[in-house]
Subunit: 155 residues, 2 copies
DNA sequence: CGCCGTCAGTTGGAAATTCAAACCCTCGCC
DNA sequence: GGCGAGGGTTTGAATTTCCAACTGACGGCG
């Protein structure tokens, strides 16, 4: 799990170090759906119980989930997303949208409805101008020397 | 890698099966930055060469990357994102934004500029109404029986 | 009380992956 | 001929994953 050499310093990599392991984002999915109990997670995700236990510890440590007691005697727990965890939900929506479009043929296993009454189609926009983000409109500026980018990728 | 039992059918899981393995999204990052050559990828990502080779094959098979010859004699290759690959770039922006906000203290290693002249702050919005997506505004509707959701997660 | 069932994990050992370094092959260049 | 770059593959050891079984604290039932 240690970094091999010294790769590009990057917040994407840092975030993935927390939520990029197998099953972690599926845990977040279930927890966002309100299915936060251990056995529900095992069933809905299909992960081995030990791996799941490890992931849950990590996500709680990272401040993405909290472990709450929903019943003393018998003691029973439930995992819920923190505010920081909920901020990752858009990630799930984009993964879902991509999968629906590219991997499925009109048999979407889940439909998400937005409060406005329409089915949610998530769009990533620029907070400053409101435009949808397109690759050609982006320019990356590395802040540390030595970590260059090779310019825009033309079609 | 086989699914343990039969977990919830889900496009999020399907998409993660393609891009959720270790390093895959970092490959996409580099390729979107224009650093598509094998040795660049090894250096910038810090992945073992063999694992990287495996990931690249998988991403090409999935239609997320293409392998192009940029020089015959000596034969040299370069990986580039396909249209489908570029559609995953917003994912990277959200991971970056989350990491910048939660994992860093004003030492962002990369700044992305949008064509509008401002630094990019990605926002996920509803295509129908334009509003920013908030957890409380979403309702999930599973399409297959047996895969319930336990209702909204209150604060 | 004795037994069964649920929930939330832990344990143990075999199987699959990852890691790191070394190696290979094709070329261009001097 | 030797060196170096680019783009991988091979090898063997170190980690992780997987799976099934087990634990332990209860609650309920007869």
């Amino acid at each position: 799990m240690a970094a091999t050499k010294d790769p590009r310093p990057c917040s994407i990599a840092d975030t993935l170090a927390l939520v990029g392991e197998k099953y972690s984002l599926l845990v977040l999915r279930e927890v966002c759906l309100g299915n936060g109990r251990f056995d529900q997670l095992v069933r809905n995700i299909g992960a081995p119980r030990d791996v799941l236990a490890t992931r849950l510890r990590r996500l709680v440590d990272a401040g993405i989930l909290t472990k709450r007691v929903y019943s003393e005697r018998p003691q029973r727990f439930e995992y819920r997303p923190t505010a920081a965890g909920l901020e990752l939900e858009p990630l799930l929506m984009i993964l879902k949208e991509w999968g629906d479009r590219h991997l499925r043929a009109d048999d979407r296993p889940m439909v998400v409805e937005h409060a406005c009454g329409h089915e949610l189609v998530p769009l990533v926009t620029c907070a400053a101008c409101g435009e949808e983000v397109r690759h050609e409109d982006l320019t990356a500026h590395p802040q540390s020397p030595g970590w260059t980018v090779s310019g825009p990728v033309a079609a």
